[in-house]
């Protein structure tokens, strides 16, 4: 079966948790390939938003005629996770060291772009998200989906099976928490 059909099929009969194990590696590999190509070019002025990257992966991996919105949302949720990992790995490989003393400010509203100077932002945000996940898993997921996957509030709500109001509050509280965490940590 072509990869494209495989992914589509998984998404169609998706059950949370169970299929992630199958889907995730494929999405990750695809995104990784795209990202590597980008990094190799590595031009300071050439940036690509991770959310666009996920979209690109979606286009290449999924047969769009044969999938509904639910499948798309799942894909983007998984894609967000993969993007996060790719960015973190890349940053680690570059030996980006968190510099002490400099307060890192992350504007979560701003879309993250692939550029080397954002490495430390990625690393500290990743760490903060791991801490947040221990405190409040859903909030960490919301941030991941929104920040790394560029998903809309409604999509996140549907993916997580909660109300949109819940997601909105999660997002606001999580932002405040992350801000505090990241400034305290340094």
């Amino acid at each position: 079966m072509a990869k494209n059909q495989e992914v589509t099929q998984i998404l169609k009969n998706y059950t949370k948790g169970k299929d992630d194990a199958n889907l995730y590696p494929m999405v990750y590999d695809n995104l990784h390939d795209i990202a590597e190509k980008l990094y190799r070019r590595e031009r300071a002025n050439h940036t690509l938003q991770p959310t666009l990257l996920v979209n690109e992966a979606y286009m290449s991996l999924v047969d769009q005629n044969n999938i509904d919105w639910k499948g798309r949302t799942h894909f983007f949720a998984v894609g967000a996770q993969a993007i996060r990992r790719i960015l973190v790995h890349h940053a680690r490989n570059r030996d980006a060291v968190k510099r002490g003393g400099n307060q890192i400010r992350v504007d979560l509203e701003e879309r993250l772009a692939f550029s080397t100077d954002k490495d430390e932002v990625v690393l500290s945000l990743d760490e903060a998200l791991e801490h947040l996940a221990k405190e409040h898993e859903r909030q960490a997921q919301v941030v991941e989906m929104k920040f790394f996957g560029g998903m809309k509030m409604q999509e996140i709500a549907e993916e997580l099976g909660v109300s949109i109001k819940t997601i909105e509050i999660d997002w606001r509280v999580a932002k405040a928490w992350l801000k505090r965490f990241m400034s305290e940590e340094i």
């Binding site: 109300s163 509280v173 505090r180």
Partner: protein
């Protein structure tokens, strides 16, 4: 509790996040009770969120910042403009006031432009008149210099010297001039004098005594062309004064201003041409001694007037010479008209020269009418007045002036003019043009301007009406926003038949949902049917049926009906949230749907479009999982009167949940189509798939046919009670007769199953809490 600090904080924050800051802080205090650790954590987070919201609000005014909620972007200028527009245009009187203001403003601007135009026009005219005077005076001067030269040459000719010597000899013999008088003028020597005059084309030639004021010999062109000779004519005082003055200036030709003959001669002999003459005098020298003076004379009505009249142009522009005592010295351009007036005694032969003083008759007399003012009351024309006043002051120095304020000339016609007094020439010139002609282009301009204002006024009136329409547009928008007593707030969804909005009652502020039917239904008989159905469904009062409160048509003719606003989820979404839908909840949902339908069926209404999207689960005032059936009887019976496109929908209902017999007969309104749909919904709940899909999958994989033992395989889950499976399969039976007969039967069956599988309030609450976590 197992909840960690951050989870607790999140819950508290969710409760206060939308409150005003003061209330929020107080509530945090209450909710944290005595847990100081929690409180400080919550407050820190709260302040962060609050400050970020504040910043975001500020940013919202910048239109370029992305990811904004569209509603908030209302730039201030637009708001001010909108308010201004409302203030200026919406109130009737303000509107009239502001439109009149605009109109008056435009008139003022128009008048300013007109005045600028007039000013420029008059300036041009002024320059023209002045140039005219300069050219005329220069032309006259050149003519006179030419005459000077002729006189000079003639005076030095031997013939003239000979005649002068001869006459001088006669006069010197008898200083009483008796001898001269006795001379026979027909003698050769005198006849030769006449010939000299004629040869030189002179109107008058004479020889004057070198000391006495006497004309010794005068030759004049007669009317018949023959010369006439006169001797010994005594000069008048005026002329003699000029004569003496010119003598003082020394030798060479001098000229005299135009004078009437009665000012030249004391006695005018019979046969002498009367008129006004411009004269040139040259001394006749013999052996460097003056023996007498030679005079050449021209009647101003001939050459002199001709030069003047060269400047006539247009319909009324004229130049004339005037004497020191303010009489005409050249033929008036309008002499013929003047001859029809009292000025020239209604005498069509009388010359305008020296005939009258240049005075303002007070009214237009060119039509021969009497002047408005009696002769004695008449004043000099403004040009003459100015000349008189100025030369009085300067003592007959050169002077000039321009009068652009229209005044009456001697014809009584309004003119603008320029005048100049040339002291050396002894006369003045006036250039005048009728004000009417000068300002004719201004008149055209005025007509254009008035036309423009009329059009403008019409346009403004139209604009006013347009504004009314504009405002009506605004009102339409408002109507759109306000339906009946309700204010539309946000769009909740859109279907094939209409759009559903969330709305608020304008007084009660209670929330409702309003369905606005699409415009293509306006004027069709479908509308009547809708109305009937809305009436019928509003009679349904079961709590599991959505309430229909009201219906009507908007001013624009759109049909709408008002329903209960439900805050909840469609069954569709709830199904998706589960991996495995609990049987108890499924039974609960099916049963409640049946309760709703029971009432309807009893009242003869068939829903015909039961589907997960039309079943809502609500969290109503703390009661969880309140079920509501929507869209009652409203989607059916849309008939062919609607356009082709919507005919597709005329069957009504969603095919996935539609009983097969309805495919054959779209107007089938048997209660059992609803029973079929309930079965299909039940299957959907458990499988997340549509019955059609389920069947086709089974058939494609070569398994049993529909009639076979499909039942158990359709729903693969083991935890579902068999009775329920069987009941659902009965409901979706293609044979109508094998389905449960009516709702009562279905309800009884379901209730029986429910006894073992009850969906408790607690379970419902738990689900809702996990869905709407911060509720």
């Amino acid at each position: 509790m197992s909840k960690n600090l951050h989870e607790q904080s999140s819950e508290i924050l969710a409760k206060v996040i939308d409150l005003p800051k003061k209330d929020a802080l107080r509530k945090i205090e209450d909710l944290c009770e005595k847990n100081e650790n929690l409180k400080s954590n919550v407050i820190e987070l709260y302040l962060d969120i609050e400050s970020e919201d504040f910043n975001k609000d500020e940013q919202d005014f910048k239109p370029e910042s992305p990811s904004k909620s569209k509603i908030r972007v209302n730039p201030l200028p637009t708001k001010i403009f909108g308010q201004l527009r409302t203030l200026l245009l919406e109130k009737k009187w303000y509107r009239y006031l502001s439109l009149s203001f605009v109109f008056i403003l435009l008139i003022v601007i128009g008048m300013t432009i007109r005045n600028g135009f007039k000013k420029q026009l008059l300036k041009d005219q002024q320059e023209k008149l002045e140039a005219l005077l300069d050219i005329q005076s220069e032309t006259l001067l050149q003519w006179m210099q030419g005459e000077d030269r002729i006189s000079n040459t003639l005076s030095q000719s031997s013939e003239i010297i000979e005649i002068a010597t001869y006459i001088d000899s006669i006069v010197s013999l008898d200083d009483s001039y008796e001898l001269l008088k006795k001379q026979d003028l027909q003698s050769d020597i005198f006849q030769e004098f006449d010939e000299i005059r004629e040869r030189n084309n002179l109107e008058g030639l004479s020889i004057l005594h070198k000391d006495d004021p006497v004309v010794l010999l005068l030759s004049e062109q007669s009317a018949s062309g023959n010369g006439k000779l006169f001797s010994h004519l005594e000069l008048a005082g005026v002329f003699y004064d000029y004569m003496r003055a010119s003598k003082k200036r020394g030798i060479g030709t001098t000229h005299f201003p135009p004078l009437p003959d009665y000012e030249i001669l004391i006695d005018i002999p019979e046969g002498l041409n009367v008129g006004t003459y411009i004269s040139f005098s040259t001394p006749i020298l013999k052996d460097s001694a003056i023996i007498s003076y030679m005079f050449t004379q021209y009647n101003v009505k001939n050459k002199f007037s001709e030069i003047m009249n060269n400047a006539d142009h247009g319909k009324s522009a004229k130049v004339f010479a005037f004497s020191w005592d303010m009489k005409l010295l050249s033929t008036d351009r309008f002499e013929k008209e003047l001859q029809q007036t009292y000025l020239l005694d209604f005498d069509s032969t009388k010359s305008s020269i020296q005939s009258f003083e240049i005075k303002d008759p007070g009214s237009d007399i060119t039509d021969g009418s009497e002047p408005a003012k009696a002769l004695i009351d008449q004043d000099y024309t403004t040009a003459m007045d100015e000349y008189f006043l100025q030369t009085e002051v300067t003592g007959y120095q050169d002077a000039r002036g321009v009068i652009m304020m229209p005044y009456r000339d001697h014809r009584g016609v309004e003119v603008v003019g320029a005048w100049a007094w040339y002291n050396m020439l002894g006369f003045g010139l006036v250039a005048e043009e009728d004000a009417y002609e000068v300002l004719l282009s201004l008149r055209y301009f005025d007509v254009a301007l008035i036309l423009f204002f009329i059009i403008l006024a019409i346009l403004i009136l139209m604009l006013n009406n347009l504004n009314v329409k504009f405002l009506k547009f605004g009102k339409k928008w408002e109507e759109f926003e306000k339906v009946g007593q309700y204010l539309l707030q946000e769009k909740l969804g859109e279907g094939g038949f209409g759009t559903v909005y969330k709305a608020k009652h304008s007084f009660l502020k209670s929330e409702v949902a309003i369905k606005l039917l699409k415009k293509e239904f306006i004027g069709t008989d479908a509308l009547d049917r809708f109305e009937k159905e809305v009436k019928a469904s509003s009679s349904l009062s079961h709590p599991n049926t959505i309430r229909v409160y009201d219906y009507g048509t908007t001013d624009s003719g759109q049909f709408y009906y008002v329903m209960e606003y439900l805050s909840g989820l469609s069954l569709d979404k709830v199904v998706q949230s589960y991996d495995e839908f609990p049987s108890s909840r499924a039974i609960y949902i099916l049963l409640n749907t049946c309760y709703s339908l029971k009432e309807a069926h009893e009242k003869g209404l068939v829903h015909r479009d039961i589907k997960p999207a039309n079943i809502m689960l609500c969290n109503q005032g703390g009661a969880y999982d309140v079920l509501k059936v929507l869209d009652f009887g409203l989607v059916k019976n849309v008939d062919a009167s609607v356009s082709q496109q919507t005919q597709i929908n005329r069957i009504g209902g969603t095919p996935m949940f539609m009983a097969p017999e309805r495919l054959r007969d779209p107007f089938n309104a048997d209660q059992r189509v609803d029973i079929y749909a309930i079965g299909a919904v039940g299957l959907y709940i458990f499988s997340g798939q549509y019955i059609v899909e389920l069947i086709s999958q089974k058939m494609l994989s070569g398994q049993d046919t529909i009639s076979g033992g499909l039942n158990n395989q359709l729903i693969q889950r083991e935890d579902i009670p068999t009775e329920l499976k069987n009941l659902l399969m009965d409901c979706v039976h293609f044979d109508v007769e094998k389905r449960p007969k009516n709702m009562d039967e279905l309800i009884i069956a379901l209730e029986k199953i429910q006894e073992a599988y009850s969906w408790t309030r607690k379970e419902a609450e738990q689900w809702w809490k996990s869905y709407d976590v911060y509720s």
